[in-house]
């Protein structure tokens, strides 16, 4: 179910200012790929390029290609709206739709995009998504209650369920646990290690330990003195953390900066 994500020479600008330069990276299916690096190195910018959310920012521009499966997300015929429908995204702060119930939040994507119309099918989809997000047992008796009544950790899992309901091939997560307490974070991490079996998971994280715990592959990014972000090193997490090839990686991992 997961699709391979291949970035080729991806650069992004905010207006005239270059933010990331010529990033080439391959994120494999059924694995968790983590993007780590100090604040401002462009990890989130790169992540948002994958599902074309970057261009939502006024004045933002993206160069290069990103292949998701067989399709070039930046190809000449590509429609950003449809790209986003096939790639799920979870944000740093849980952002359920405040006027909707738990059920309506999960169903929002399929309903608005009219991919599922019959109520019975929708019910099944909502239950399946909430099960996959490890939230079903906690909310199955209160599906019609407002989503804002859930705790932070539950809301974040709800956002994951909402993304899963669109049946994406890739899931992007931008520091998904940084706004959560340790126990809620643990639950989300457990969830991600389950999800990787069915999806390609790419996660931006500030937390090196988190990357070491759950990521199969890790990319270390750094912004140089020109403030432009690049990939410094990319490889299997175990190797990157135990025998980093680049001195800058080693410095970051051992805490000499960042």
């Amino acid at each position: 179910m997961g699709e391979i994500v291949k970035a080729e020479e991806v650069s992004a600008w905010y207006g005239k200012k270059l933010a990331i330069r010529d990033m080439s990276l391959e994120m494999k299916p059924n694995r968790i790929t983590a993007l780590i690096g100090p604040s401002g190195c462009g990890k989130t910018t790169f992540l948002r390029c994958i599902n074309r959310m970057q261009e939502v920012v006024p004045g933002a521009r993206v160069g290069g290609d990103i292949w998701v499966g067989q399709n070039n997300v930046y190809g000449s015929g590509a429609d950003p709206v449809r790209v986003r429908a096939h790639i799920g995204m979870v944000f740093q702060r849980p952002n359920p739709f405040p006027t909707m119930s738990i059920y309506a939040n999960v169903a929002a994507g399929p309903r608005l995009n009219r991919t599922v119309r019959k109520k019975a099918q929708l019910d099944e989809l909502v239950e399946d998504s909430l099960q996959r997000a490890a939230l079903w047992d906690e909310v199955k008796d209160r599906l019609k209650e407002p989503a804002t009544g859930l705790s932070g950790g539950q809301q974040q899992r709800l956002c994951i369920a909402r993304a899963l309901a669109m049946k994406p091939g890739v899931i992007l997560l931008d520091e998904p646990t940084s706004a959560l307490d340790p126990i809620a974070s643990y639950k989300v991490e457990e969830l991600l290690t389950q999800l990787k079996h069915d999806y390609t998971v790419v996660i931006v994280t500030h937390n090196m330990q988190q990357a070491a715990r759950i990521a199969d592959d890790t990319a270390f990014m750094l912004a140089g003195s020109d403030l432009v972000g690049e990939v410094v090193e990319y490889g299997e997490t175990k190797q990157l953390f135990s025998t980093p090839k680049d001195k800058r990686t080693e410095d970051y991992i051992t805490g000499r900066f960042g």
Binding site: N51, M53, V56, P58, V81, R82, V83, R84, A85, H86, G88, M89, F91, R93, P94, N95, P96, F97, P98, T99, A108, G109, L112, N113, T148, G152, Q155, C159, R162, A163, M166, A179
Partner: protein, 290 residues
């Protein structure tokens, strides 16, 4: 740790009393603002209270000079003008509010905002003249002409309030919608607007409250009529117009009824504003950010 010798703060009593004086002055100002309003209400009721009765709301005006009769045609006219002018002012107001909230720095949006601000300050008689030229000259006096004039006065308030209501919806909500593959316009109409709905309803109420009591444009547009409103294509009467006619007329009965009419109009405005306030309060409780 070195100890600092305590110094007596000689200025503290002075500062404390200046503070108290300031609070007192502020309170007095508020009272000063409320007193005229309360007095006005009391005076209007005293002058016209005797004419307020059920028949005031149900009967047409009596023939000149006779007692009795009511303001039913004027009240009905004012109540008719509210939905009619809303049909003109609300679509323009809400849609331009949406546009301005979404395209904040686009040149056209900036120009539109400027024009809206100008029209917001438009003297109401000018709105009447515009409607006169556009509608009355070709088609005659009518409720529709009045609605156009009032709609013109209504929409800047609605535009501004709608823009503010939409800007209050947190950005992550829009991002979440877009990330699901929902197109911009759908995200706006199916997710952002419903989230902002209380603010938009408030915008509508404020717009209506703004025009419900406008008098000047009505002269040039609805003309007045002794009958209850029939077709919107024909002249109608309205409270502000009727109040003016009776207040400046020769009969005491007319004067009393003008006061009563003033009270009814006043009450309508107060109720609309109150409703707007209640809805604004509930807006704060509805959109909760995590």
């Amino acid at each position: 740790m070195a100890s600092v010798p305590a110094r007596r703060d000689l200025t503290y009593p002075i500062r404390k009393n200046v503070g108290r004086l300031g609070s007192l002055l502020a309170t007095l100002c508020v009272v000063a603002a409320i007193i005229p309003l309360a007095y006005m209400l009391y005076y209007v009721l005293r002058q016209g209270g005797s004419s307020l009765s059920v028949s005031f709301f149900t009967k047409l005006p009596a023939p000149a000079g006779e007692t009795g009769g009511g303001f039913s045609n004027a009240i009905a006219g004012t109540l008719l003008l509210i939905p009619l002018s809303s049909m003109v002012g609300l679509p323009i107001g809400i849609l331009s509010g949406i546009y301005m909230a979404r395209s904040r720095n686009v040149g056209f949006a900036r120009a539109a905002r400027f024009v809206t601000d100008v029209i917001a300050g438009l003297p109401s008689i000018v709105a009447g003249v515009v409607a006169y030229a556009l509608i009355v000259i070709p088609f005659g006096f009518s409720a529709i002409a009045g609605s156009v004039a009032l709609g013109l006065l209504m929409f800047p308030t609605v535009t501004r309030a709608t823009e503010e209501a939409i800007k209050l919806v947190p950005a992550p909500i829009r991002e979440a919608a877009l990330a699901l593959g929902v197109p911009e316009w759908k995200a706006m109409f199916r997710i952002i607007l419903p989230t902002a709905v209380n603010g938009i309803v408030t915008a509508i109420m404020l717009g209506i409250a703004r025009v419900a009591g406008e008098t000047a444009p009505l002269y040039l547009t609805i003309l007045g009529s002794p009958n209850l409103p029939g077709s919107p294509l024909k002249p109608i009467h309205a409270l502000p117009l009727q109040i003016w006619n009776f207040a400046t007329g020769p009969y005491d009965e007319w004067h009393r009824q003008a006061w009563a009419g003033a009270f009814v109009l006043f009450a309508i405005i107060v109720l609309l504003n109150l409703l707007a306030r209640i809805l604004t309060y509930r807006l704060g409780k509805r959109v909760s950010s995590s």
